[in-house]
Symmetry: C2
Subunit: 400 residues, 2 copies
Amino acid sequence: MKGKAETSSKRLSSLDSLVQQYKLPEPVLVTRPTMPSFEEYCGRLKGIWERRWLTNEGELHRELERRLAEYLGVEHLSLFCNGTIALMVALQALRINGGEVITTPFTFPATPHVLYWNGIRPVFCDIDEKTFNLDPSRIEQHISADTKAILAVHVYGTPCDVEAIEEIAHRHGLHVIYDAAHAFGVRHKGESILQYGDLSMLSFHATKLFTTGEGGALVCQSEAQRKRINNLKNFGIADEETVIGPGINGKMNELQAAFGLLALETIEQEIENRRRLAGIYREGLRDIAGISFLEDIRDIRSNYAYFPIIIDEEQFGLSRDELHNVLKQFNIFTRKYFYPLCSHFPCYSALPSSAPSNLPVAERIARQILCLPIYGTLDEEVVQDICTVVRKLSESAHNL
Amino acid sequence: MKGKAETSSKRLSSLDSLVQQYKLPEPVLVTRPTMPSFEEYCGRLKGIWERRWLTNEGELHRELERRLAEYLGVEHLSLFCNGTIALMVALQALRINGGEVITTPFTFPATPHVLYWNGIRPVFCDIDEKTFNLDPSRIEQHISADTKAILAVHVYGTPCDVEAIEEIAHRHGLHVIYDAAHAFGVRHKGESILQYGDLSMLSFHATKLFTTGEGGALVCQSEAQRKRINNLKNFGIADEETVIGPGINGKMNELQAAFGLLALETIEQEIENRRRLAGIYREGLRDIAGISFLEDIRDIRSNYAYFPIIIDEEQFGLSRDELHNVLKQFNIFTRKYFYPLCSHFPCYSALPSSAPSNLPVAERIARQILCLPIYGTLDEEVVQDICTVVRKLSESAHNL
């Protein structure tokens, strides 16, 4: 960046000429859902109209649970209206409703919020600078007599160090819950990543790889636990006259389930499309000074749900915030995801573990991260164009 | 009932002959949703496919909020994925997250459960034997230094004594929240019943008069409050970089909103159909010894969402439980709604206010209540047949 003395008019004209030359013809959002065929969706709805059964373990709901479990390679899965309610019920199912839970600040607000709803104090632990996931080497220093569990997040679908977390949990007798909102279809050494921990939560929000508009699921380790979860998501109702506890309404309806059944049919194609786009991004952005990104990892089948890049302001010439803003002028809409850290929200910022000095890596990554547009129906040419814009900006950034 | 010495075979043969004569040809459930036209629903979906926008304040969501507010005669309404999450957010919006709230045990489990999720101790107060709603004359004895609010329920859509509750609330500085899950479209002196209290919750579950499959709403008193509620139901996110508190995911998706827009078009017809059916029930059941029911109330526009009857075992000859079971043999599926009382659930039964001696009216009504089938598309003849069965059972009940 030039000194402040540089006239802003000159900087603007330099950017203006880039915008004139490289602006994309249409706005490109960070993500868009891949819609199933409209005709097939209406076809799927017909049965709902015949049965006049809209929710409470409908036929499509049961079918989707069965087919999702099969596709994901897990045995016990329960659908929810959204991932947040699923995660709330996960903690309730384990009877964790007080004390402390160790979690990451580099996540969506839902992660710490489900702790609040269960009367639990979050304890933020720093993340690994390569994976953006909880750094196992820093977990144990946060374990106190009040610690009940570790709530880890597979950020961008990159698996946590599940073996290290498991070892710590076993040593201290802690539960492990995975927020796998990003990790649909991710496999670790050929097995579903959802097999790890006591429970894993999936999100099917419209911004997710696999979507039911809103939606989510819990994956658990036994049929007994699944039954308990099914009761808890239906107000704790076990039968007509028995309520086993203060449950909630977490039920997915048939309109969502119908959508999910069709989305599942094309999910492998969706992942393949994104894999190709991620390849184009990597090729197009490689060797741009100050830009780095995730690479494929050995033994991991990725889902390419996101394409986050890290911007080193010194080398690139623009800060993450500047790049985010400048890209809008090119019709490229990126997302500061995750920023700010959850530890900065007023409701958590007074916690001792929220001190920036406790979270140096997370603080830096949150300032440097930017998610670029990626979704199955995005044109390869658009991705190439985005790479070109970033490259051109890099070349002239120090003059902007 | 004859003495236990009576041979059961004789009792059975007497019932058998009634069943042979009066059994309905098809099972009649207590309720079924009125489905909008399938073609019109698919037509409504088209725009969603064009916009590829599935949730987060979609176009249909905004339209449904606007049209519901208009229809209901309220100014500030916010849609939710279901009524339970709406009620949880209602308490959070008022910052009630501890202490005690006075409520009724004669309600669906969701009512006390939302208190649990907000860290609040329920204090159960007895009900009025005519309306089945909180008995205002018994509220004040439960007010302590820890009381924060009154959470009242318009059971079966019958309005609470809103003026008396308001007066108590004003005298003691308490908030008032109405669980109006049953009270869609109910008007009190020409005004929406939802105008009373700080907040009212509506449920749009498939068993409700107006449905979106799953769904619900909060009605509040100002646009500022609605904005706060909108933030809280979206994780507390106020803008791209600001989270105002530990919110939740309570968002309704576009598939639900499309359903609701069509359901709203026929809601007056639905209420009219039910009004006619309620009239047939009243005519058919009037003067059966031991059966009583709700009548229309002056100044109240009812919605006829339910048709509950009270069974006096001594006079009728069968207990409520016996009638419920016997009716199944006639293909008539009724609902013990509400039974058991929430104060009987293990999670609440140890509370001092759960003592049956504190809740004599609620205890009795819960033992005597039975909801008969009612829904807009139910045939008038079926209702007549149900009345006939109940009358025949009454005539021979003492011999059964």
